[in-house]
């Protein structure tokens, strides 16, 4: 492996040199008025981009092989140059596809006008219409999986639905193919076009979320089973449509050989908008670029933004929200939703992030003067936030912060933060990636990897980054609460 590091470092140096050669430092005349500087920069970037876009603007690819033809014309128009407005670009695409068994099939990409289909689909976007299921399936395989389609026959289930097998000839004897996954297709109103509504295979399945589920525009835990080359499963989230790009891609670990194994991954959907249909694709790696691999895909719908102050009491477990950070480098404190202690944070962002998962905040003290009894914390103000049984306490002084001072689950009586009167409204079901959370037997903490574990009556302290995570236990030694807090007093 050292050999790879040696090669990598050398290649990295070469890449940096190339970057400096291709993009030398631009010296600005800083004596000019600032406004002029910006105009020059805007015009320069816009002009350069315009050149790029115009050069790349017209792409025509024509392919003729037997009775198959593909013709693509893409026109990208640069936005008008302006020194005061933000640059922008518009894109119009016209694609004509002929598949082997049909005559020309027009594929029309309309301007971005939202079309509400009767059912969420994984491909194509609602504003694209394919007249045959074969065309929809081919476009999915080519555009999303990045391989040339090798498809089985369309098997009709009823007059408006059916399924098509995605096959592969990679590493197969000449002239043979083998199945990889099954696409479910349906003709959907109001466009009456054909859409891929889901995909499944023996080597990949998604159990969470469910197809068509409403999910927040934030972290989304995807669970299921799968297998792939060297255990690698690619979990991808994207909004279908022309020119799409991944919202997120996470590598998960599944089975390496014939057996599927459970996987769990958290994809970030924060870039999606309410109403967007997001495709969640789980695909086993094959190590072969021409093989689509085994895969499963479902659509989910981004929920409208939550504005009502309604306690959400029935959300699913959020695996991975708790991270004790025991193997991070450099060391980091235990974190909740990625927020850890001792560094400055934006409390508004914290609220937005947690709200996107747990719903509206149940209790917010706002910025409140710190009681004298807790002056030892060094903070002059605190803000306590509560979602169900999840609490964050944020501190600040006149010249520093806010910083996260404590987080807890199932406990509103943190030692070094003002107590809350609230009763716990509901259990949040947050867990670590390994599933440690409220209700977990304390014995499982032995395997978490704390530097040291201290047992005292109904409490367990797991030593982590500059202090312990404190777990409270019930009479059957199950975890009822956990907390981590700044203990400067």
């Amino acid at each position: 492996m050292d050999e790879i590091d040696d090669l990598g470092r050398s290649a990295g140096r070469a890449a940096r040199k190339r970057g400096q050669r291709l993009a030398p430092l631009v010296h600005l005349d800083t004596n000019q008025p600032e406004r002029s500087d910006m105009n020059k920069r805007t015009a320069w970037i816009a002009a350069a981009a315009a050149t790029v876009l115009v050069v790349a603007g017209v792409v025509a690819i024509a392919s003729v092989k037997g009775n198959e033809s593909v013709q693509t014309t893409s026109t990208i128009e640069p936005a008008p140059l302006s020194s005061t407005s933000s640059p922008a670009s518009t894109e119009t695409t016209q694609v004509t596809t002929t598949n082997p068994s049909t005559t020309d099939v027009p594929l029309t990409v309309e301007p971005p006008e939202q079309v509400a289909l009767e059912q969420a689909s994984i491909w194509p976007g609602a504003d694209i219409v394919f007249d045959t299921p074969q065309d929809a399936a081919s476009d999915f395989v080519r555009s999303v999986l990045g391989v040339e389609p090798v498809l089985g026959e369309f098997r009709e289930l009823d007059s408006r639905s059916g399924e098509i097998e995605v096959r592969s000839n990679a590493d197969a004897p000449p002239g043979t193919t083998f199945p990889r996954a099954l696409l479910q297709l349906r003709q959907l109103r109001p466009t009456d076009g054909w859409y891929v509504i889901s995909a499944n295979s023996g080597g990949a399945s998604i159990s969470l979320p469910t197809a068509g589920a409403e999910v927040p525009a934030g972290p989304l835990t995807v669970e299921g089973e799968g297998r792939g080359f060297e255990s690698t499963l690619n979990v991808v989230a994207f909004v279908a449509g022309p020119g799409y790009s991944d919202l997120d891609l996470v590598i998960a670990s599944g089975g390496a050989f014939e057996q599927n194994e459970p996987f769990s991954a958290t994809v970030d959907l924060s870039q999606a908008s309410p109403g967007d249909v997001v495709t969640i694709l789980v695909r086993g790696d094959t190590g072969l670029s021409e093989d689509p691999g085994e895969f499963a895909a479902i659509p989910v719908v981004i929920a409208p933004q939550m504005t009502a102050v309604t306690p959400q009491t029935d959300h699913p477990a959020v695996r991975g929200a708790i991270d004790f950070n025991l193997d991070s480098e450099p060391a980091r404190p235990p974190a909740l939703f990625g927020y850890d202690l001792f560094s400055e944070i934006n409390d508004k962002e914290l609220i937005a992030d947690v709200t996107s998962v747990l719903g509206a905040v149940d209790d917010d003290t706002g910025w409140t003067p710190m009681p004298e009894a807790l002056a030892c914390t060094g903070a002059t103000e605190y803000r306590s936030l509560l979602w169900d049984d999840v609490r964050f306490v944020v501190h600040r002084t006149a010249d520093f912060g806010p910083t996260l001072a404590a987080w807890s689950i199932g406990d509103v009586t943190l030692l070094y933060s003002p107590a809350l009167d609230n009763d716990i409204i509901a259990q949040s079901d947050l867990t670590t990636a390994a599933g440690i959370g409220i209700g977990t037997p304390a014995a499982e903490l032995d395997d978490v990897g704390f530097d040291q574990i201290l047992y005292e009556d109904n409490q367990v302290s797991g030593l982590a980054f500059i202090g312990p995570v404190v777990f409270t236990l019930d009479n059957s030694d199950q975890i009822t609460a956990m907390s981590f807090e700044q203990n400067d007093c």
Partner: protein, 185 residues
């Protein structure tokens, strides 16, 4: 007006300090100098269009790197699709074809040099590529890589391990292997 000037200066500073680094990232993921420059230009256009918001991020550099990596991955996908169609016609030339491991291994004289290393990296899964280029081009730690990609540290570690394992396997198969061994010896 004063506030806008400050914002503009901040953009200029970021542009000047980050551009060459981002081009290096994009080049290592595309293997094409023109594409790398174009992609980074698009990233800055995008950043400029939404600068009021982006400039408020804790780390603008992380956002720029993530945007560059995402665009490079999308570019790879588009290029692969286009190449497969065009190759059917026999129109593609060696110059037009993005450098890939297939090119490297197919060429008996093709030494596994710096470019060859990146062509092997480009055969990895996207997230593994991202982790590798941030590690070797940017010298980022696991923690910094996780912050840039917005993923868990554990995910970075697993992607790095998987990527290195696949690179090691590719190196074993590389036709230039014997010469490398001799040089090392």
């Amino acid at each position: 007006m004063l506030r806008r000037s400050s914002s503009e200066r901040a953009f200029d500073k970021v542009f000047r300090t980050e551009r060459s680094k981002l081009v290096a990232l994009a080049w290592s993921m595309t293997g094409r100098e023109d594409a790398a420059v174009d992609l980074v230009q698009e990233v800055f256009l995008s950043a400029f269009a939404d600068w009021e918001r982006i400039s408020q991020f804790d780390s603008v550099g992380a956002w720029l790197r993530r945007a560059t990596i995402n665009r490079s991955i999308s570019w790879q996908r588009r290029a692969r699709n286009e190449r497969e169609v065009v190759e059917k016609l026999g129109y593609i030339s060696a110059i037009d074809r993005p450098v890939s491991a297939a090119d490297t291994t197919a060429s008996a004289a093709g030494a596994l040099d710096d470019d060859g290393f990146w062509s092997l990296v480009r055969e990895l899964a996207p997230r593994q590529q991202a982790v590798m280029v941030l590690r070797y081009v940017e010298d980022l730690s696991v923690d910094e890589t996780a912050a840039v990609l917005g993923i868990e540290v554990g995910t970075v570690k697993s992607a790095a391990a998987a990527g290195r394992s696949r690179l090691a396997a590719a190196l074993e198969r590389h036709p230039d292997r014997e010469r490398m061994e001799e040089n090392r010896g």
